[in-house]
């Protein structure tokens, strides 16, 4: 149950502009149900190479050109997705490349290809048609040559030569479990075609591309969004939900750009944690990774050589929120090891302050995360509530850390990071400073309407008890 969209590669939020056709090559067709219908129509037409799909009006515009055609360019668009036939935009070939419609025009030996419409220097029997796609002097495979696309050459002594375009399988290899694989193979190891990630048929699934942006779940290409042992895809065969893809390994298991490992704390999601904590936060001992008891699982150490699944140490082989492990308690399958401290990503304090830092007059101008402070007199990226004129007492010079509002947690500043309005500074309390104790007797407390829960619900539940 393949979708006609399987023949297309999408660029979300993109329009293809043509220098000579600002309004596009033809009218919009509004009577289509969805992008699949557009793909069906375009797929039937030999001179249709791509189409715009309007995500709001659900209309489509068939296009005779792609982003590699002359005088075209891609442009961001708030209303369109651009679908282009894979044969034209993929830089690798599937099988023997008879579908290849790319623009490579150089042979393996570096010779320029002869135009197919020319009979010199090499005469031949081929006539370019829409069907055989013998365009310009691009490499093509009109006779199904097992060595892939080829061309006649402009060198009199070399009649024709293969172009050496890589198969999609060879074009990209995988490190470790292939979570970073971004190649264009769209078939499984049994030869089944992959289902598109942005479709829920024939197999509904949870991996919506929009929710897993970091996994680049493009079109129907093999990917590994759930840290399986290899890249895989759902298949277009209703009887077979998902299968692995057959992809070459890049070699020895170390990943070239692997993050520095940590031992007694973890950074980010803890995927590089290599410490020896081996209980859960609940204090339950972890199960050994090489054991299937009490919990059967798929994270066999030999299948995840890069994840260091030694003994029963807390690890994060699947991109979860933190290091975790299977536990030795039958009733508790997995648990996070949140008791492992997070490595601080704070920078080293550069100065110190007394009390709440209201009198701090130093020139530190960096937040604890190392972000530069915004000038107090500036209005961007954050509108300052405290300015040198509105708070003269606070000595708000330049972008130095200050405490104009008596913040009990120390000097702060507005930051130059648009995502962080304010933050505390790379300062620490001076060693000889003792903050006043807060453990005085409580004073009278007045509250508004919060903090109440519906007594009727409470009663019902207590009955439940």
């Amino acid at each position: 149950q393949r979708s006609p969209l399987n023949d297309f590669q999408v660029l979300r939020g993109t329009e293809l502009q043509h220098l000579l056709h600002t309004a596009g090559p033809g009218p919009w067709q509004e009577d289509v149900a969805d992008a699949e219908e557009c793909a069906r129509r375009c797929g039937l037409l030999l001179d249709c190479r791509a189409f715009h799909y309007n995500v709001s009006s659900h209309g489509c515009q068939l296009l005779p050109w792609t982003q590699d055609s002359p005088q075209t360019w891609l442009q961001r668009s708030g209303r369109c997705d651009l679908f282009q036939k894979k044969g034209y935009v993929r830089t690798c070939i599937m099988d023997n490349g008879v579908e290849y419609r790319g623009t490579v025009a150089i042979t393996m030996g570096g010779l320029t290809c002869q135009h197919w419409s020319h009979r010199v220097p090499n005469d031949h029997k081929y006539t370019p048609t829409l069907h055989n796609g013998l365009e310009e002097n691009f490499c093509r495979n009109p006779d199904g040559d097992p060595r892939g696309p080829w061309c006649y050459t402009t060198h009199p002594a070399v009649r024709f030569q293969s172009c050496g375009i890589k198969s999609c399988r060879e074009a990209a290899c995988i490190w470790c479990n292939g979570e970073d694989y971004r190649g264009s193979v769209d078939r499984t190891e049994s030869g089944r075609e992959c289902q598109r990630w942005d479709l829920q048929h024939p197999h509904p699934h949870p991996f919506e591309p929009g929710k897993f942006l970091d996994k680049d779940l493009d079109d129907n290409y093999c990917r590994n969004p759930d840290s399986s042992e290899r890249p895989w895809c759902y298949t277009t065969d209703p009887q077979v939900e998902r299968e692995f893809c057959d992809l070459p390994s890049c070699g020895p298991e170390a990943q070239p750009h692997q993050e520095a490992t940590t031992l007694n704390c973890f950074r980010g999601k803890g995927e590089s944690y290599r410490g020896t904590a081996n209980t859960t936060a609940a204090g339950v001992p972890c199960q050994r990774w090489d054991s299937q008891n009490p919990h059967k699982h798929r994270f066999a150490p030999e299948k995840y050589p890069c994840k260091d699944l030694r003994e029963n140490f807390c690890r994060n082989p699947d991109g979860s929120e933190a290091p975790w492990c299977f536990t030795t308690r039958p009733g508790m399958r997995v648990a996070f090891c949140y008791q492992i401290r997070r490595c601080t990503d704070n920078v080293r304090p550069e100065d110190c302050y007394y009390g709440t830092g209201e009198q701090y007059r130093g020139s530190v101008s960096k937040t604890r995360k190392g972000v530069s402070c915004q000038r107090w007199s500036a209005e961007t990226p954050h509108k300052s509530q405290f300015t040198p004129t509105s708070a003269p007492h606070a000595h708000l010079e330049e972008n130095f850390c200050r405490n104009p509002d008596g913040d009990s947690h120390g000097p702060w500043c507005y930051t130059t990071d648009p995502r962080t309005p304010f933050d505390y500074c790379a300062l620490r309390r001076c060693d000889d400073d003792q903050p006043p104790s807060i453990l005085e007797p409580p004073d009278q407390v007045l509250f508004e309407k919060c903090g109440k829960r519906d007594p009727r619900l409470d009663q019902r539940v207590s009955k439940l008890r």
Partner: protein, 227 residues
């Protein structure tokens, strides 16, 4: 929550990752703001796409059609002051307050909960077999002074932390509850006095439980929401 009972806590929220899995608790302090623990997130600047807050249900795995369930994406994070372990989450839109969803009060700045005050923790975390993992569990705990707490902890408990009384039976927060509330009944209202943070062991019998003291950081909460 270990040693708790199924219960009702309309300000307790469930943090969900993009697979929809519960991984931490939180407290609804404003219609669009939830307080939780920094430990729950890789950092204060992670891509938040797919992370959601679920409210208005008692079930760990509510059906999508469950009435009252509110699922709100998280739009922004604000990291708490140094040593606070606090994290404020701004939601993409305000939640709807109703019978099942309510705000919890914040204490005045530097307010110290009197010893003996009745409090409760709530969460969908690990019960260690003492309760029903599929619903929200609530457990009652009573506050003790830091002085008493430090007898057991040999002075390690800071003023920015607070403690509840040690019990003979294992009762307390556990994995999956972190970031959730220690709510105390004060002057006829429930007030968010503490936040559940990871400890080396869950619900350790005969040991006081330690929480972050919210009143020390309430000025930051107001400032972060205002700025």
């Amino acid at each position: 929550v270990v040693g708790g009972q199924p219960g009702n806590s309309p300000w307790t929220v469930s943090l969900r990752n993009r697979q929809g899995q519960h991984f931490c608790g939180g407290s609804l302090v404003k219609e669009q703001w939830v307080l939780t623990a920094q430990q729950c997130f890789p950092s204060c600047h992670v891509p938040l796409l797919g992370y959601e807050v679920w409210l208005g249900t008692m079930f760990q795995s509510p059906k999508p059609t469950e009435p009252g369930l509110q699922r709100v994406p998280i739009a922004k994070m604000v990291c708490g002051p140094p040593d606070s372990q606090f994290l404020l989450l701004k939601l993409e839109r305000p939640v709807t307050l109703n019978q099942r969803v309510a705000l919890i009060c914040l204490p005045p700045e530097r307010y110290v909960v009197p010893p003996g005050t009745k409090c409760e923790i709530a969460g969908w975390g690990e019960t260690k077999g003492t309760g029903n993992n599929s619903v929200l569990n609530v457990a009652s705990l009573n506050v003790i002074s830091n002085q008493d707490c430090n007898v057991k902890y040999r002075g390690r408990v800071q003023e920015r932390e607070m403690c509840t009384k040690d019990l003979l039976a294992p009762v307390g927060a556990c994995e999956g509850d972190y970031g959730g509330p220690l709510a105390c009944f004060t002057h006829d209202c429930w007030v968010l006095e503490g936040m559940i943070i990871p400890a080396r062991v869950c619900a350790r019998p005969r040991w006081p439980a330690v929480f972050m003291r919210v009143s020390v950081f309430v000025d930051w909460i107001h400032k972060a929401i205002r700025l």
